[in-house]
Amino acid sequence: MGEKVLMKGNEAIAEAAILAGCRYFFGYPITPQNEIPEYMSRRMPEVGGVFLQAESEVAGSNMVYGAACAGARVMTTSSSPGISLMQEAISYMAGAELPCVLVNIVRGGPGLGGIQGSQADYFQATKGGGHGDYKLIVLAPASVQELMDLTITAFDLADVYRNPVMILGDAILGQMMEPVIPGKREDLDLPPKTWATTGAKNRPKNVITSLILDPAKLEQHNLNLKEKYEKIARNEVRYRTYMAEDSETLIVAYGTCARIAQAAIDMARERGLRVGLFRPITLWPFPYDALRQTAEDSLRVLTVEMSLGQMVEDVRLAILGTKPVHFYGRTGGMTPTPREILNEIERIVEEGI
C-alpha cells in the first residue's frame, strides 16, 4: 500500500492504466480529459510504453483495435463528441471480442455542447451507441480513488471476458483532486491471448474479423456473445449502498451524482428523513436484482442524474411499477446541489408520492 498522493481524477486514470500494465495509449485531445494523454505522453516513454497522439478519435479507436489484436493492454480516452466518433470501432471491437479500455469523461451535449460535467452519455455507453447487438462493460467510479481502482479492474475485466470496457466518468471526476493510495494490479490468472495476431509462428494462423456473411453463423456468433454477456451479468454486477437499509426514499445515482446525493442524504437524515442511496458501479451489467431487493422496503425511488433522465429507464425496468420511480436531473453541465435534491426529497415525501 503506497502513500497517499493528491491526484486529479484524469491523472489517476492514466497512472492506474500504467499500474495495470497498459503500455499502449492512443488518443486525441479533447477537454475535459486532456490530462490523460498529456500524462501518458510523459509517462509512457519512462515505462517503455507507447504514447501516440492519433489524428482523430476514429483513427485512435482503430489503433486500439490494432493493438488489441496484437495482444496489447491498450487504452484510449476521450469525451462525448470524441466517443461518438468511436462508435463504429467500438461495435467492431465488441464484435471481434477485443479486450481494451475506453474512457469517456463526459461533458455537456448534444453537439459541441459545453465542457462541464454531465451524465448524458449513459444510453450511448450502456445500450449501444454503435450498431448491432453488443454490450460494453461500463464502470462508473465516484471518487478519484475509485477512478484508479476501477481502471485497473477494467483492464482485467477486458482480458477475462475479451470485451471492451468503458469507464464512464464526467468532467467533475476527471478534473477534481483527491488523495489516493495508488492501486495495485491483482494477481489474476488471465487467459493467455492465444487468439492474438502476433505472427503465425509454430501455430496455425490467427484471424480477427467481425465479418460473418452467413447469417446463420453470424447469429450463432451473436448468441455466443449473448452467453458471454449473461455470464458477465451473473458475475460482475457491482454497486454500493449508503444508509439504504431503513430508507423510505431510496435514491439511485452513480458517479458524481452519487456523491452529491450522499451529501443530500446526510442533510435529510439530520432532518429525520429516512433516505438512502443505491449506487450502481457497473452501469452495464446494471444491478437490476440488487436494486429491486434494496428497494423492497422503500416506499419510493428517486433517480438523480446529470441528464434529462437516462438511467431512470433501467431503474424503472428494475422496479417495474411496484412503487413510484421519481426523477430529478440537471443537464448540460449543471450539477444538482445537495439542497436541490433535499428539496426534491422533501417534496415527494410531503406529497406522499
Binding site: 482503430n62 489503433m63 490494432g66 494462423k205
Partner: protein, 251 residues
C-alpha cells in the same frame, strides 16, 4: 520434373471469391511470393480492407486482421507499435484508402509508420456494385456516375502515389500494373522493395496497383487489361514515386 511455378507457401490453398479475371488474385500471389522469399511469413500480420478483398484473410497463410472500412492504416499502426519486429501490411482498395480512409493513410504516411500498404486502384467500388471511386476517371460511367464522371460536380480523380509522396515520412512509393507478364514481374519487384523498406526500418512504403474490375467495368478480363494500359496508365503514370523534394514556395 521440377516445379518452376506454383502456389507460394504464404498463399492458402483455397478457392477465391473474386470474379473471373479480376486481378486481385494476381496481386495476392505477388505478395505471398514476396513474403516467402523474405522468409517473414511467421512474423507477418496482414490487414484486409472492407472491399472485394475483405476475405483476403482467408487467402494468406499468415495472421490477419480485418479492419473497418478505410481504417487499415490505423489498425496497422496499432499492431506495428505493439509488435515492432513484425512485418505489417495493409491491403486496401481505392474506396477504402482514398475515400473514407484518406485521413488515416495520409497520417500513417506522414508518421513514417513502418508498414507496407498494397493499394489496389481499380477505379471503382467493386464490392458494393460498381459505384464511383475517388480514382474513377473523368467521364467513366459507374452506377453513381451514370452519365460518366463529371469532374465539375463529382471532382477530380486522386493520384494517391503523387499525393502521398509529398510527405516526409514516406520511404518508398511505386505505381505498377499487372497487365501482362512483364508488368507482373515489375510489380513484384516493387512489392519486394516495399517490404524490404519496412523491414529495414526506413519508413512508410506503398505500392499502388492499377487493377481491373471486369465485372463492373463491363469488359472481358482482357479488355479490362487493355483499358488499364490505354486509359488508366495515362492518368496514373507507372513508376517510382519516392519522396518528391521540397516544393518550394516563392516568397
Amino acid at each position: 520434373m521440377r516445379k518452376v511455378f506454383g502456389r507460394p507457401e504464404a498463399m492458402a490453398d483455397v478457392p477465391m471469391h473474386y470474379c473471373p479475371g479480376c486481378t486481385h488474385g494476381i496481386i495476392h500471389r505477388l505478395i505471398a511470393e514476396v513474403i516467402d522469399e523474405l522468409g517473414v511469413r511467421e512474423k507477418t500480420v496482414g490487414i484486409s480492407p472492407v472491399g472485394c478483398a475483405v476475405l483476403a484473410y482467408d487467402y494468406f497463410n499468415c495472421d490477419f486482421v480485418e479492419a473497418s472500412h478505410g481504417r487499415a492504416p490505423a489498425v496497422a499502426t496499432g499492431i506495428k507499435r505493439t509488435l515492432p519486429d513484425s512485418v505489417v501490411f495493409c491491403y486496401q482498395g481505392d474506396g477504402d484508402l482514398a475515400s473514407i480512409g484518406m485521413a488515416e493513410i495520409v497520417h500513417a504516411a506522414t508518421r513514417g509508420e513502418k508498414i507496407t500498404v498494397i493499394f489496389v486502384n481499380n477505379a471503382v467500388y467493386g464490392m458494393t456494385g460498381g459505384q464511383m471511386a475517388p480514382t474513377t476517371l473523368p467521364g467513366q460511367r459507374t452506377t453513381t456516375s451514370p452519365r460518366g464522371r463529371d469532374v465539375e460536380g463529382a471532382g477530380h480523380p486522386i493520384r494517391v502515389a503523387e499525393l502521398l509522396s509529398t510527405l516526409s515520412g514516406v520511404a518508398y512509393i511505386s505505381r505498377v500494373s499487372v497487365t501482362g507478364p512483364t508488368n507482373v514481374i515489375k510489380a513484384k519487384r516493387a512489392v519486394r522493395r516495399a517490404f524490404e523498406t519496412q523491414i529495414e526500418g526506413k519508413g512508410f512504403s506503398l505500392v499502388e496497383f492499377l487493377s481491373t474490375c471486369p465485372i463492373n467495368w463491363g469488359m472481358s478480363p482482357l479488355e479490362a487489361m487493355k483499358w488499364v494500359d490505354e486509359k488508366m496508365s495515362l492518368y496514373y503514370p507507372l513508376g517510382d514515386y519516392t519522396q518528391v523534394q521540397e516544393v518550394a514556395g516563392n516568397a
